[in-house]
């Protein structure tokens, strides 16, 4: 296999490329001109042929999504960039925005031409004060140079781009919650169908694409679908920026073809496990994807292979735990995250994540009971696929998978009455993220009550 040359991160070493002059000097906006000389249907076919799949987690084919946009409704079409990057462990969108903002804008402009959209939005998470400022500056530059606004790049095509900043809510990365938020409402997911491609922003046909997905688009147009499809595997094509964090020597974003093994990413790109310790567990695509273990290191990181290994590629965010890390503690913290970020709309999620964080909390704090392991599995069954969006499903992932691979570690917490990774009983510093008291479930519920939870939630 020939050596892989970075595509999406090719300009990262070039600080000048953040500005439009530096971007133009390195071939920027060439693809936009080419796209504008191509008919929208032909452009959509090209993106379909590239095999590009959404990089935000779901992996839906991008060209197919664009082709679903109806053109005869009499309503405007909208394109929204999902830059609400919040999945724990994921940080490639932030760096793509900070280091190469025009690449995203060019991909966005091409997408807008393909679906005939004249007003697009970039929804940046509120905490991205600086990355969003970089994007705002890039948008202003693009207007000044005629790559946005009236007559994009000398064509008859008009396009306005509005940068919108969120205000702190993980759920707004879910595409229908994002639309609600952009419409000035609480960020709570909508029931689907209808899907955003027909009933999206303001009830109009809407494409929502991730930052990394759109960053791929100029390269597909510039170098061709065949070239793009030649990277990666047959069904998972193209390059991917993997975010590797936790106990590795060189945490960071690493671009590699889809299908690169987890071992190559963790051991070579990220420099292996810090301190020469042994790997214990890792997530392939953020905290919402089930943990895998050292036994899965040879898994190719593509949509199909990771699913075959029992997890999901998600965002390609690999959080790495080593042998000295407590799986119960890490999972508790993820569970608290979901309890905190549940939007509250659907009962199985709102109640389930809260109770899960309680039971996980008492487990880590040494008050766990033998039956808690089955209790959590039962609660998980009552949460999975029962809500409008996948947040609750994501919450079940780390719990179910940690029980699957590290059941004995849970049992040891129960047997010892404390966390075996901490010195003193009750030394676990578990802060409560849900607004209640810290500590065991027994403080909240009378003895014996919690075993009925499954029935209550079911």
């Amino acid at each position: 296999m020939p050596e892989f040359e970075p595509v999406l991160t090719a300009r990262w070493g070039n600080a000048d490329a953040v500005s439009i002059d530096g971007y133009l000097e390195t071939g920027g906006y060439r693809a936009l001109g080419k796209a504008l000389a191509t008919s929208p249907p032909a452009l959509i076919e090209e993106v379909k042929a590239s095999g590009l799949r959404g990089r935000g987690g779901a992996g839906f084919p991008t060209g197919t999504k664009w082709s679903f946009i109806p053109q005869s409704t009499g309503k405007p079409v909208y394109v929204v960039v999902n830059a609400d990057e919040s999945e724990p462990g994921t940080f490639n969108n932030r760096e793509l925005l900070e280091r190469d903002p025009h690449q995203v804008l060019e991909g966005l402009a091409i997408a807008c031409w393909a679906v005939q959209c004249h007003t697009a939005f970039i929804y940046c998470r509120g905490e991205f004060v600086w990355p969003a400022s970089v994007v705002e500056r890039a948008v202003a530059e693009a207007y000044d140079r005629g790559y946005l606004g009236r007559g994009v790049a000398g064509s008859d095509f008009d396009l306005d781009v509005v940068v919108h900043r969120g205000a702190g809510a993980y759920i707004c990365g879910e595409e229908t919650a994002l639309l609600e938020s952009l419409e000035g409402r609480r960020g709570q997911p909508r029931l689907r169908p209808p899907f955003p491609v027909t009933d999206g922003l303001y009830g109009c046909p809407t494409v929502i694409n991730n930052v990394e997905t759109l960053s791929c688009v100029p390269h597909i147009v510039d170098r061709g679908a065949t070239w793009f499809a030649g990277i990666g595997t047959e069904k998972s094509t193209g390059p991917k920026v993997f975010s590797i964090s936790g106990k590795v020597n060189r945490p960071g974003n690493y671009e590699a073809p889809l299908g690169t093994t987890a071992r190559a990413l963790i051991e070579e790109h990220a420099g292996g496990i810090s301190g020469g310790r042994a790997l214990k567990a890792w997530t392939p695509g953020g905290s919402s994807t089930p943990y895998l273990t050292a036994d899965h290191l040879d898994t190719p990181m593509d949509f199909e292979a990771v699913m075959a290994a029992g997890s999901l590629l998600g965002t390609g965010a690999m959080i790495v735990l080593d042998e000295t890390d407590c799986i119960v503690d890490a999972t508790l913290r993820f569970t608290q995250f979901y309890a905190h970020e549940s939007c509250g709309k659907c009962t199985p999620c709102r109640e389930g994540t809260w109770w899960m964080s309680r039971v996980m909390g008492r487990m880590e704090n040494g008050h766990g009971r033998g039956e808690d392991i089955e209790l959590m599995r039962d609660m998980g069954q009552n949460m999975l696929f029962k809500s409008f969006c996948a947040l609750a499903d994501g919450a079940v992932s780390p719990i179910d998978s940690s029980i699957k691979y590290f059941r004995e570690e849970y049992e040891e917490h129960v047997r010892l009455g404390r966390c075996p990774f901490k010195d003193e009983p009750g030394a676990a510093s578990v802060t409560d993220r849900t607004g209640g008291t810290t500590g065991s479930l027994a403080q909240v519920l009378p003895e014996g009550r919690e075993v009925q939870l499954g029935e209550v939630l079911g």
């Binding site: 309503k75 940080f91 905490e127 004060v129 400022s133 705002e136 207007y143 919108h164 205000a167």
Partner: protein
């Protein structure tokens, strides 16, 4: 800081509010940006500000409040001028994020959960900030500081107390919460005079 006596969005700020509303095809999309504008004027979002935003957008105050209470970056009670957010999600806590958070709480005391007596600080335990390569991450008014040690965190706090706000890893020296809220309102990405957003829904009444 207590709630203001006069209107929050008046004069040039009211004009800015109108320009922010104008960049959206449907006015209600400007709801959160306008609440940021209120926060930039008051330092937090009092109910009076929500009432004014409701009036501008043709909504009820309850509708605005329902949105305001959903988002953590809108402060519904007096907040410190510098919001220190410490990520304790696993990528950061594996590398000391939780100890950092506890240190911040130790140094600034229990009051920092709301606001310290000097009005300078609010400490928040933050969820993943999408910068795990730089774990553990701390933000000051949502501006990122990479790989922060406990000593550095104490130094940052001491610096802010003395009026020397430290320079962030990217994005320069963070402004105070009012300045950053102004930025968050979108004041730097306003449409030029020639930009006229198309009708939002294809219906005249939209």
């Amino acid at each position: 800081m207590t709630a203001p006596e006069g209107p929050v969005l008046s004069g040039p700020v009211r004009e800015l509010a109108d320009r922010i509303v104008a960049k959206y095809p449907v006015a209600r999309s400007a709801l959160v940006p306008l609440l940021y504008l209120v926060q930039s004027e008051v330092g937090w979002v009092p109910r009076e500000g929500m009432r004014e935003v409701a009036e501008i957008l043709g909504l009820t105050t309850a509708e605005v409040e329902a949105v305001a209470t959903f988002y953590t970056m809108l402060k519904l009670q007096p907040s410190g001028r510098y919001v220190i957010s410490v990520c304790t999600n696993p990528s950061c806590s594996l590398l000391g994020g939780r100890r950092l958070y506890e240190r911040a709480r130790d140094v600034l005391g229990e009051a920092s959960e709301r606001v310290t007596d000097d009005g300078l600080f609010t400490v928040e335990e933050e969820e993943c900030l999408a910068a795990c390569d730089a774990a553990p991450v701390v933000t000051v008014n949502y501006t990122y500081f990479d790989r922060v040690t406990e000593e550095q965190l104490e130094g940052m706090i001491a610096g802010i107390r003395e009026g020397r706000v430290p320079e962030a890893s990217r994005g320069g020296v963070p402004g105070d919460l009012r300045e950053v809220s102004r930025l968050l309102s979108g004041e730097r990405s306003l449409p030029g005079p020639e930009r006229q957003p198309a009708s939002a829904t294809g219906d005249d009444g939209a």
